[in-house]
Amino acid sequence: MFFGLPLHTGLIVSGAVALVIVVLTLWGLSFREAS
């Protein structure tokens, strides 16, 4: 259980949020400031 949720719901939702954060962080790291 994950805060009273079925484990798969907790994993899918938190996984999606984590994925978005990772992608946006990678975007920030790869952004070229000079251009």
């Binding site: 009273g4 978005v20 962080t25 975007w27 920030g28 251009s35």
Partner: protein, 505 residues
């Protein structure tokens, strides 16, 4: 409901807004100052402006209402909507800001006209459809404001509309984007702090998240699943996997290319803001959205346990946040703060929409189509008059809101997606996209969104959001028509940095 503290706090809030408008009016010397705040917005003003342009009155009332009625399968809204801000900044913003600064764009229509070498047809079509969609959206915003004021003060509907309409119009007319962006910074701050302060109280008062989820699972076991099974077995169980895909595209792309959102990228002072603004916008907006959704879950739990009762109206779920705060926070001062928070959420979108309507009319239609010889002062005056006319006409409509208001607002977002997404994406990233392709895809997208929206509402429900069909038609039209018509000149493509890249190589 109202007491002295509420009056004082709301009065103070209005005085601050008018003060910012007055300060901003001194900075307006030309049309660029008015429309784009002189391209001077700093990182936080720009980021909060993007967030609050996407966020609307629905953020507090509609999001918690959706959580109340559908449970966890609707949680994807909390990812898709904040992602609209990030998507706008990355996919549209980086390139539009760079090209816009170099080429002097004032609106996104300037870009479309330049990229597709269509100074009148495409500019006119996109400006007219942008104005219609923004006006529909505005009626919804004003209606939301009046609901809050009527409920708080018990004053007549038209008085509530007039008070809020006059104040928003005043600071928007005198201060342009300077006033809109700085008032939005204040409004955004109030919204964020307010939700951080209030939502945890409601969640804790309902027994905490684990208990809330247990109660939700007892109502319908699918309330704690990531989506509802397909096909939908009840009106509240529409968030099936296929619907969520179309919902995601609608919210993430449709809101990102809405004229009142995308135009903000032209006003950022420096390109380096685009580095971390997507993550910051997602982080701040995401936390706010999740907290508001959890509040909707908490109120459902409290209602199921018989602790509170929602008003006996058709849209009872929209009172979830209000009822939750009322129950969890009897303290009058905090209660007054809540009133300001809801007003801030709605007003921050309303002023941006009004300014966008004024801009599209004055700059795109009046200056660039009807009277190209008009001097700058005249365009500035027309902008201000257009803002007043937009405010007046939408206030008048909001006094007697159309019976299908909610449908019209969803229609508005669907039309934004079907009309603007393909010409903008193809224009920015595909050198083969042509002027005829852009006009055809925009026009057909507009017609298809109207037809499918009508079909879904009045003929037979569709399995996915109606805007997805219109988007596919718009994209196919762009590809087919572009392949059979002549490409734009190499100069136009190079000047607008067209190609399969986000940052110029």
């Amino acid at each position: 409901m109202a007491d002295l503290i509420t009056f004082v706090l709301i009065g103070l809030y209005f005085v601050v807004l008018i003060g910012i408008g007055s300060w901003a009016s001194k900075k307006i010397h030309n049309t660029e100052d008015y429309i784009l705040a002189g391209r001077s917005l700093g990182f936080w003003v720009f980021t909060i402006l993007i967030i609050c342009s996407v966020c609307s009155g629905m953020t507090l009332l509609g999001v918690s209402g959706f959580g109340y009625s559908s449970g966890w399968p609707g949680i994807w809204e909390q990812i898709f909507v904040p992602l609209a801000a990030s998507f706008c900044i990355i996919v549209f913003g980086v390139k539009l800001h760079a090209v816009g600064k170099e080429r002097g764009y004032m609106t996104v229509q300037d870009y479309l006209a330049d990229r597709f070498e269509s100074p009148r047809a495409l500019r006119g079509l996109s400006a007219v459809s942008g104005i219609i969609v923004s006006l529909v959206y505005l009626v919804g915003q004003y209606t939301a404001i009046s609901i809050v004021l009527v409920w708080l003060f018990g004053i007549p509907h038209w008085e509530a509309l007039l008070i809020s309409g006059v104040i928003i119009t005043a600071y928007t007319v005198v201060g342009g984007l300077y006033a809109v962006s700085w008032t939005t910074l204040i409004q955004g701050g109030i919204l964020i702090l307010g939700v951080f302060l209030m939502a945890p109280f409601v969640i804790v008062s309902a027994g905490g998240l684990s208990h809330i989820n247990t109660v939700l699972a007892g109502v319908d076991p699918n309330f704690v699943e990531p989506w509802f099974p397909s096909p939908a077995y009840a009106p509240y169980a529409f968030a099936t996997p296929e619907f969520l895909v179309s919902f995601g595209i609608l919210l993430m792309v449709g809101l990102a290319c809405a004229p009142h959102v995308i135009n903000n990228v032209l006003a950022a002072k420096e390109a380096r803001y685009f580095k971390w603004a997507p993550l910051v916008a997602f982080g701040i907006y995401g936390v706010v959205m999740f907290l508001v959704k959890f509040t909707g879950f908490a109120v459902r739990s409290l209602v199921e346990e018989g602790t509170i009762v929602l008003p006996a109206t058709v849209n009872a779920q929209d009172f979830a946040f209000i009822s939750g705060v009322e129950y969890a926070m009897p303290n009058v001062a905090l209660w007054a703060l809540f009133a300001v928070i809801v007003l801030a959420a709605v007003m921050s979108t309303t002023d941006r929409l009004m300014l966008t309507v004024g801009t599209m009319f004055a700059w795109d239609i009046y200056k660039n189509i009807l009277r190209p010889s008009a001097p700058d002062k005249e365009v500035l005056l027309v902008s201000k008059v257009a803002v007043i006319v937009a405010a007046g006409s939408t206030l008048w409509l909001a006094i007697n809101p159309p019976p299908m208001l909610a449908w019209l607002i969803w229609m508005g977002i669907g039309v934004m997606l079907a009309t603007f997404a393909v010409p903008l994406l193809a224009g920015l990233y595909w050198r083969g996209a042509t002027k005829e392709g852009a006009i055809a895809s925009m026009g057909l997208g507009l017609v298809a969104a109207t037809v499918f929206g009508y079909w879904h509402q009045f003929v037979a429900p569709l399995p996915v959001h109606f805007s997805l069909y219109a988007l596919v038609i718009s994209a196919l039209t762009m590809v087919v028509v572009s392949l059979v018509t002549a490409s734009n000149s190499r100069d136009a493509l190079d000047n607008t940095q067209t190609g399969w890249f986000i940052q110029s190589p």
